[in-house]
């Protein structure tokens, strides 16, 4: 019973994450996204600065 509930919850969370990812993808299709201020993770920034 508990396992069934957990699996149901996992399924729900996976669907929610998919929905968020789909919304982001819709936003990213437009080049206008580049005009917005995008904050870069300091670790990624550091990595890019080293290349």
């Amino acid at each position: 019973m508990v396992i069934k509930t957990v699996l149901k919850q996992i399924k729900k969370q996976a669907e929610l994450l998919k929905e968020s990812a789909e919304q982001i993808a819709e936003e990213l299709k437009s080049p206008a996204i580049l005009e917005k201020d995008t904050e870069i993770d300091p670790d990624i920034e550091q990595f890019l600065a080293r290349r």
């Binding site: 957990v6 919850q9 996992i10 399924k11 969370q13 996976a14 669907e15 994450l17 998919k18 968020s20 990812a21 789909e22 982001i24 993808a25 936003e27 990213l28 299709k29 080049p31 996204i33 580049l34 995008t38 904050e39 870069i40 993770d41 670790d43 990624i44 990595f47 890019l48 080293r50 290349r51």
Partner: protein, 142 residues
Amino acid sequence: MWDKFQACKMLGIPYKIYDMPDYIGGYTELKHRYIHINPKKADDDRVWAHEIAHALLHFQNFESARGVDPRLNAYAELEADTVAYIVTKTLGLENKDYIRYIRKFMRNIPICEIYGTLISKERLTKLKESAILILKSGGYYD
């Protein structure tokens, strides 16, 4: 149009394509942020976006840490595949495996975290930023 080779070049991520078992699409050596791709998956943009996301998002010390805590591995896979899903969906490509793949990794995450927020809003913003970087560096917006 998105060019994975250009993306790797622009982001300074080295890669190597060589034979590996069929069940592995690729993997990223996190310490050196080096991508390894299975030649059978070399045309699959999802695999490339997934590995580039690992290279961008997961820290130098992460590789040793995830050996100690398997949850970190589950989170890393969840994040990399979410970025790959965003990228492929933006490119208009099919990615039917996404739900199956992330559900598999979610099973390794404690129930308390499943009931809470699995990926925080802040972290989701970082995944979005990574997807933008990957798309931009591969010439998608040119």
